[in-house]
């Protein structure tokens, strides 16, 4: 039970210190006007871009590992996948900074942040995809192939839809995870006080805003860090709790 004290204390502090600053202006104005609207927008842009890059690659890798995973190559890939899931997030930040910020784009860019975050997203999605596809009974695959359907067709039209619930759950949890990542985007999108200005200029994001605000001496700005935390924690917890409730519902269905 001791372990829950931090959780409760965090929630308590975030709510009591964050709620007073929340209002429409705070949620929609940009940094110069004392709001976090630009950071919320930035977070959603980052999440969107990252999902666009990371989810297809992650799911397809997971499909390979689950459906064709009985060879040495796949075993190696699975092991590497497991190992990089626990990569220190700041390292992918450095890498994306060097490749994208210095190399490809030449300035801080939301794109660099999305690359860094997809390095984190891909292994997580691949892992959960593999696990949920393995739960699909083999008899389903055999039944489909017995009807003369190609294996690739079986996988795309039969196995993936059967595992859909697990795929959605895993993907949403992975998104919740990257929504709170700070270190990689600190090095790649830098932070700013303005709304999105294009793919070759710095942007802001909620976790970044929390970090930068918390370092300011002014109590007002620190209060805005708590407000941003409240918004971020609401997004993350809503994703988590929503997913859990949804998957619990599915569990009941499958017991029928």
């Amino acid at each position: 039970m001791v372990a829950l004290i931090p959780l409760l204390s965090i929630l308590y502090e975030v709510i009591t210190r964050g709620a007073p600053v929340l209002n429409l202006h705070f949620l929609t104005a940009n940094g110069l006007q004392g709001g976090i609207g630009h950071a919320i927008q930035g977070s959603f842009i980052l999440i969107g871009l990252t999902s666009l890059i990371g989810i297809p690659i992650g799911i397809l890798s997971g499909v390979y590992l689950s459906e064709f995973g009985n060879n040495k190559y796949a075993t190696w890939m699975r092991t590497i996948n497991d190992i990089i899931t626990e990569f220190p997030s700041i390292i992918v930040g450095i890498t994306a900074y060097i490749i994208v910020v210095i190399g490809l784009v030449g300035s801080f860019s939301p794109f660099a942040g999305a690359i860094a975050l997809s390095f984190i997203l891909i292994p997580i999605v691949a892992r959960t995809t593999e696990e949920s596809m393995k739960l699909v009974p083999n008899s389903v695959r055999e039944a489909s192939m017995a009807l003369g359907i190609h294996r690739w067709r079986t996988i795309i039209s039969i196995v993936v839809p059967s595992a859909k619930g697990g795929l959605v759950t895993g993907t949403l949890l992975a998104i919740a995870r990257i929504a709170g990542e700070t270190a990689p985007i600190l090095l790649t999108v830098l932070g700013s006080s303005f709304f999105f200005q294009g793919f070759n200029s710095p942007m802001d994001a909620l976790p970044l805003r929390i970090f930068l605000d918390s370092r300011q001496p002014s109590a007002e700005i620190q209060a805005s860090a708590w407000g941003a935390s409240l918004v971020l924690i609401l997004i993350v917890l809503a994703l988590n709790i929503g997913v859990r409730l949804a998957s619990r519902g599915r569990g009941l269905f499958s017991k029928r």
Binding site: R17, I80, E86, S89, I91, T95, A183, F211, S214
Partner: protein
């Protein structure tokens, strides 16, 4: 043969995509190695063993930060592992189902809280608890022991270690839980049948059977603690230069990730940036070793489970 072509193409395409994990690993390693050659080439072994990180004289050595990383991670393990073991044992062996479900759910929520929020909480809340209830008394009564010397301030190795210990609980507890549930029930039944009490069964049979897996879980927690950036950066006090060499737990310090997060953009010369990238490389190597070790130990135990079920 023609019919097979669709399948083979599909398999090959997926196989190439599945290499993304390896590509990510290789790209990261390559970029860090090539980016840091100037620094490591210039200082050689001193880069790893040197104590000074001085932008003025342009000498860079990562030793204080490696030590800082290990110290904070060590504190995290000392506090976090017993708690996590307790949680895992409670969840598997003792709790009624009505408690188990919400409780394990709450522990998982602990993992969902973004690290920057841990940092914020640490900076404005935990710091003062630690300062008032732990550090001041320890300093007052045990200040003559070197590790408790130094004026307690609240932003130091100790606070960072405590934050980390909270953050590794979900990782360690959930893996340990899996490992303990993987212990075949025949072993428990055999132990009970020769008259062992519940405590003895857990202590002598369950824990020793799952020893390797639990050790793996601990190392996994270590990996998390070592790589954690934001929460640590916000509470460790960010000492730089000669002050960063750890002498006391109650002194501001610096870990490898916090060093990079703080200083990367302040670097004035190419050599200095290369040194920061080198620090990243050292972190990458440490974390790779830790994660490979953990992976080997955890899969060994879970494989046994697979065998037993079949």
């Amino acid at each position: 043969m023609r019919k097979l072509n669709g399948d083979n193409t599909f398999k090959v395409i997926l196989g190439i995509i599945a290499a993304s994990a390896a590509i990510i690993l290789i790209v990261n390693a390559y970029v860090l190695i090539s980016g840091s050659t100037t620094a490591i080439g210039k200082f050689g072994f001193d880069f790893f063993a040197g104590k000074s990180w001085n932008p003025v004289t342009q000498t860079f050595g990562v030793l204080p930060y490696v030590l800082g990383t290990l110290i904070t991670a060590g504190i995290a393990l000392l506090i976090g592992v017993p708690l996590s073991l307790g949680i895992a044992i409670f969840l598997v062996e003792m709790s009624p189902k009505a408690v188990r479900v919400p409780f394990s759910y709450l522990v998982e929520l602990l993992a969902a809280v973004p690290s920057v929020i841990y940092g914020l909480w640490g900076l404005f809340v935990l710091r003062f608890w630690v300062l008032d209830f732990v550090e001041k008394p320890l300093h007052a009564y045990l200040g003559w022991i070197p590790i408790f010397s130094g004026a307690p301030f609240g932003l130091d190795f100790f606070t960072a270690g405590i934050i980390l210990s909270i953050m590794i609980i979900p990782t360690v507890a959930s893996v340990t839980r899996e490992v303990i549930s993987a212990v075949p029930s025949t072993i428990r039944e055999a132990a009970y049948s020769i008259g062992a009490t519940k405590w003895e069964v857990i202590r002598h049979w369950v824990l020793s059977y799952g020893r390797s897996g639990i050790f793996g879980a601990v190392i996994l927690g270590l990996g998390r603690a070592v790589g954690e950036t934001m929460a640590v950066t916000m509470v460790i006090g960010n000492a730089i230069g000669p002050n960063a060499m750890p002498t006391s737990l109650f002194q501001p310090g610096q870990t490898l990730p916090s060093l990079i997060a703080n200083g990367f953009f302040d670097s004035q010369t190419a050599l200095e940036s290369a040194a920061y990238i080198g620090a990243g490389l050292v972190l990458l190597i440490i974390s790779l070793i830790i994660n490979i070790l953990a992976h080997v130990m955890v899969t060994r135990v879970l494989k046994v489970k697979g065998g037993a079920v079949e």
